[in-house]
């Protein structure tokens, strides 16, 4: 009992935090400041992160293997926590956060993401995923006075609901044909199931699940929701979706595919169906995401497409992990996560500062270098990191993925990756151009709240640090889970 409490401590803490915020919201008067709740949220997330670190290298398995936690999983949890923490800090200066629910939902979404990462059983996977999604639906619609926000939330609900149905439908086939919902047992039974003359149903199930996962990580052709939702959602929540939700989705993908198709018994399926399907997803995501981003005028929309492109890159890393060809595979994915997290969070933080309540189309950046040279510089760095230019973390991320892809002879994909990267230069640099070349009559300096400033500074330092001295992180990852 006590052991279980300890093993689940990060999740417990989040739960306590949720309860505290709920109580706080009940006790606080309607028009008093909600800052204290934000503080509670921040502290809770931090504490949860500390406990994740405290758990160290032990391997935990609870509830007859439906909850597992090992260093590898913990490293991703840490990422989710850091992402959420940044969003929480960013929210201190956000009007929306004047509602207690905001932090509450943020924490519950994080809780969902954390259990999602740990879940090794279909029911738990599904419930965690939904906890994450449902909280996110509401968060997206948080801007109640803004039509776009509600509309985005609505679209998210419909697309999200349909995609969960796909996912579940696929899961039901896997359950039915292997007779278990536990992933470990399932992987044992899967080889038999494939020889049971029912492999068509399993393939069907696999593709259905792929639809569900593809939706979650916004991979083409299941990406339609992302631009609308990124655009309509409050910027802080867009950050959350782009970072935490996405990383959790990838972790889910990795867990599911890795534990089912990573086994020896069904290598033919892995190579014959799973990998080609992922390749298609990846290539489509890279091309469509980056090409359509070229046409976008609205910044958040553009970043949405760019994040679709990034999803494509990350899928390559997943493929290399599944192929198991290179030991760098996992660290490359992780590195990419980190780089993406830092750069995206920073970008959105600056967008929030610059655009304030306006709809952020490209023009808000005009002449930023004059108004706030530091902000312009930071945004440039983040964009360069997203574009994968050396001296930023993004480059090392791309490099590691490329090495992995080459190690597994995925030459064409690597080529497409680089080609689309070059395409992506075009729209990233266009923003830089907007900042440095276009003049704007607006002369007053941007007011950067301390919280946004903190987040921007942190992500900037991270982007440079991991870009110039990647060893810190690479070794860190290596020593942690190897």
């Amino acid at each position: 009992m006590k052991q279980m409490a300890m093993d689940l401590s990060p999740e417990w803490i989040l739960l306590v935090g949720i309860a505290l915020i709920l109580i706080g919201e009940i006790l606080l008067r309607e028009n008093s400041s909600r800052f204290i709740l934000g503080l509670i949220a921040g502290l809770t997330v931090t504490a949860s992160g500390l406990f994740v670190i405290l758990q160290g290298k032990e391997v935990i398995s609870l509830f007859s293997d439906s909850y597992v936690s090992d260093p590898l999983i913990r490293s991703i949890k840490l990422l989710l926590i850091v992402g959420t923490l940044l969003v929480v800090i960013l929210s201190f200066s956000e009007k929306l956060a004047a509602k207690g629910e905001y932090y509450l939902l943020l924490l519950s979404a994080l809780l969902g993401a954390m259990t999602l990462v740990s879940a090794a059983e279909l029911v738990m996977l599904f419930v965690s995923l939904e906890l994450l999604s449902l909280s996110a639906y509401v968060l997206v619609g948080m801007h109640q006075e803004r039509l776009a926000s509600s509309e985005a939330a609505w679209k998210y609900v419909v697309y999200g609901g349909a995609s969960s149905a796909f996912l579940l439908y696929g899961m039901s086939f896997f359950y039915g044909l292997t007779g278990t919902t536990s992933l470990t047992e399932m992987s044992g039974n899967l080889a038999v199931a494939f020889t049971n003359n029912n492999e068509m149903l399993l393939y069907l199930g696999f593709f259905l699940i792929l639809v569900g996962i593809g939706f979650k990580i916004a991979a083409v052709p299941f990406h339609m929701w992302a631009p609308d939702i990124y655009q309509g959602a409050p910027t802080t929540i867009t950050t959350f979706l782009a970072v935490v939700s996405k990383i959790a989705g990838f972790a889910f993908m990795l867990r599911f595919l890795g534990s089912l198709f990573g086994t020896q018994g069904i290598q033919s399926v892995l190579h014959g169906v799973v990998i080609p399907a992922l390749l298609v997803l990846s290539i489509l995501s890279m091309i469509v995401g980056n090409v359509i981003a070229l046409k976008q005028f609205h910044l958040k929309r553009m970043l949405a497409y760019s994040s679709i492109g990034h999803a494509g890159y990350m899928i390559i890393a997943i493929i290399t992990i599944l192929l198991g060809g290179e030991s760098v595979a996992y660290s490359s994915l992780y590195y990419y996560f980190v780089a993406y997290l830092l750069a995206s969070t920073g970008t959105f933080a600056i967008l929030q500062v610059v655009a304030q309540d306006k709809s952020p189309d490209r023009r808000v950046l005009s002449g930023l270098h004059k108004r706030s040279p530091l902000l312009a510089f930071c945004l440039s760095v983040f964009l360069l990191s997203l574009a994968g230019i050396p001296f930023t973390a993004g480059f090392i991320g791309k490099l590691t993925i490329l090495v992995g892809a080459f190690g597994n002879s995925l030459f064409w994909v690597a080529g497409i990756m680089l080609l689309t990267t070059v395409i992506s230069y075009y729209y990233y640099f266009r923003l830089i151009r907007q900042m440095y070349w276009q003049e704007d009559e607006k002369a007053e300096k941007e007011r950067v709240s301390w919280s946004a400033g903190f987040v921007i500074a942190l992500t900037l330092i991270g982007t440079f640090l991991f870009g110039i001295m990647p060893q810190i992180l690479l070794q860190g990852i290596g020593s942690w889970f190897m």
Binding site: M1, L15, A19, L22, I23, E25, I26
Partner: protein, 124 residues
């Protein structure tokens, strides 16, 4: 009694329950008067001609109650199995089983108080 037979009986109950109104209404058709007129087929509105459509927009409170209902009704799904197997689980797992449901209920109660505070429960 095998389970299929139990449901057969329920099916018979259902059939009987459906047949009764059908039979009664069919019977009534032969007995009752039938003199339809324009006025009779008008929608009733306190004796005046109906104004506007009647499928009006409902007050939002109905939806709020519906949402609350869904939440607590679904909660019941978990409460019943838990309650039914409480004794068994109590001896197997110990007080943890109480704790778990206490947590579950606690959060629901918190949610209820929250809704209360947010004036969802008011009928305005």
């Amino acid at each position: 009694m095998p389970i299929s037979k139990s449901f057969l009986i329920i099916g018979i109950f259902f059939l009987v329950a459906v047949l009764l109104p059908i039979a009664a209404l069919t019977l009534g058709r032969f007995l009752r008067a039938s003199k339809p007129s324009e006025e009779k087929a008008t929608t009733y509105e306190s004796g005046v001609n109906p104004i506007g459509g009647s499928w009006v927009q409902f007050h939002v409170r109905y939806y709020l109650y519906a949402l609350l209902f869904v939440i607590f009704d679904v909660e019941a799904i978990y409460l019943f199995p838990w309650a039914a197997s409480y004794d068994v689980l109590r001896s197997e797992i110990g007080l943890g089983i109480l704790l778990e449901m206490g947590l579950f209920l606690g959060f629901l109660i918190l949610g209820l108080i929250y809704a209360w505070k947010k004036k969802v429960l008011e009928w305005k």
